[in-house]
């Protein structure tokens, strides 16, 4: 089943056209990696997909439900609030700099939305939260506050927080870019484990080796358009486009 579909997404900030005509599909269980140079619009794409930004025009469809469609005047039209609220449950986002809630303990960071937003009972929320912290090897940290954790631990809490709401699609925007080099591995391992469980994910990353290992599908974006896409063996292993080659050359040791 198609979990996510983006059609003809356009987005500009003032005069700056950031995304020109982006279309992509993500199937259930698929892991899509998005790579591309700095400023190419990768974050903007994720932010449009998670509705942190409203697109100028185009369509955004989760599990067949339109979150955004293009109106008759060619402008993007949002779905009615009730529907948006439901659609919002379909996805989660892991930020580059975690954005944990500093005044909440680790456990509360993970469980609060379950109680506040999804109206789950406290015991149920706690058991979901503890289960996820266990999985993230953070069981002993549930009472800690974010500032007491390493960057890698904070990022694992934020992944647990996103997973708690049981999203269909999980987005990552450079989840390891804010981490010290020695902490990057633990996050990549977590994401690999999720991929093994067939979690549907869209990952913006500069870790090319990781993208090749974990992704089913790689999208190379440059200048606001998809320059090349396909299985990692092709896009990363044997790129056809000169811009893709030039970009990847920078990552060769």
């Amino acid at each position: 089943m198609k979990y996510l579909e983006v059609r003809n997404l356009r987005k500009s900030f003032g005069d700056l056209v950031v995304l020109k005509d982006i279309s992509l599909k993500v199937e259930e269980g698929q892991v899509v990696a998005i790579i591309g140079p700095s400023g190419s619009g990768k974050s903007t794409l994720l932010r449009c997909a998670t509705m942190l930004e409203t697109m100028d025009s185009g369509e955004l469809i989760y599990l067949g439900e339109h979150a955004v469609r293009t109106g008759q005047d060619g402008r993007a039209v949002l779905a009615p609030p009730q529907q948006l609220k439901r659609i919002q449950n379909y996805y989660g986002l892991v930020f580059q700099n975690f954005n944990l809630f500093p005044h909440y303990s680790v456990l509360k960071n993970v469980t609060d939305a379950l109680i506040t937003v999804q109206k789950k009972s406290r015991p149920e929320a706690l058991s979901i939260g503890r289960g996820l912290l266990q999985k993230m090897a953070l069981a002993d940290k549930e009472d800690a506050y974010p500032y007491q954790l390493s960057g890698g631990q904070q990022q694992r809490v934020s992944i647990a927080r996103a997973l708690a709401l049981n999203p269909k699609v999980l987005f990552f925007d450079e989840p390891t870019s804010a981490l010290d080099p020695e902490l990057i591995g633990e996050i990549l391992e977590v994401i690999k484990d999720l991929a093994a469980e067939r979690m549907t994910m869209v990952i913006v990353t500069h870790e090319i080796t990781f993208a090749r290992d974990v992704a089913d599908h790689v999208i190379f974006i440059d200048g606001g358009v998809i320059v090349e896409e396909g299985p990692p063996e092709e896009v990363i292993g044997n790129p056809q486009n000169e811009r893709t080659r030039a970009f990847l050359r920078r990552f060769e040791g």
Partner: protein, 214 residues
């Protein structure tokens, strides 16, 4: 005059000063938050109106504002003068709400965008985001600035003398000139000092209560 008699006479003033202090905080702290929302409103009319209000409150002496609240209804609208105590409370609340509003605004604007974005993606609505995620962090950040204002308020309560509300300072002055003694002023000074000492203790307690996160 015996010290005990003097203290007894001044007790009434202390109580009134304390009441001005407590009622001002009770009303101006929440009002200030709404003023801050108005100041940050997208509607330019609301925003500019609130901006003007804040600049008048901060740009003119509180003494003058108290007089306007007390004498204004009569001189401007030919209404009867309001109750003195009520006028003092209204004047103080309007003034302090403006100062608190700017403090709240600074605090709210200092919270990273990412906090709102994380809450939005997790599905919190606007009210939940503000009440549960943003405001507790704002409180922690603004507490030192609020402490300053609160300490100033303790001393400012003495300004109620301009419309002859018999708070601590008004009484001390009256007794001092009747008795030709500085003792009432000494007592008044000690009163304000002890009051502020307690305020500082309370605020420190508050800061410690919020020290569990960063």
């Amino acid at each position: 005059m015996e010290l005990s008699v003097l203290l007894l006479k001044l007790t009434e003033g202390m109580w009134i000063s304390t009441k001005i202090f407590l009622l001002t905080l009770l009303f101006s702290l929440p009002l200030g938050l709404f003023v801050a929302f108005g100041r940050m409103a997208r509607n330019p009319f609301v925003m500019n109106l609130v901006k003007l209000y804040i600049s008048i409150m901060r740009g003119t002496p509180l003494v003058l504002q108290l007089m306007v609240v007390y004498y204004g209804p009569y001189f401007i609208f030919k209404l009867s003068t309001p109750d003195r105590f009520l006028a003092v409370i209204i004047g103080f609340v309007l003034n302090y709400a403006a100062y608190f509003a700017e403090i709240y605004r600074g605090g709210i604007e200092s919270i990273e965008r990412g906090q709102y974005e994380a809450a939005q993606v997790l599905g919190y609505n606007k009210a939940q985001t503000f009440v549960k995620i943003i405001f507790p962090q704002v409180v922690k950040r603004i507490l030192p600035a609020v402490t300053n204002e609160v300490i100033t308020l303790v001393k400012d309560t003495s300004l109620a003398f301009v419309i002859s509300v018999s708070e601590m300072f008004t009484l001390a002055k009256a007794i001092a000139s009747a008795q030709r003694s500085v003792l009432p002023y000494v007592v008044a000074g000690i009163f304000y000092y002890v009051f502020n000492f307690l305020v500082a203790l309370a605020m420190e307690w508050g800061e410690n209560r919020l020290a569990y996160f960063r």
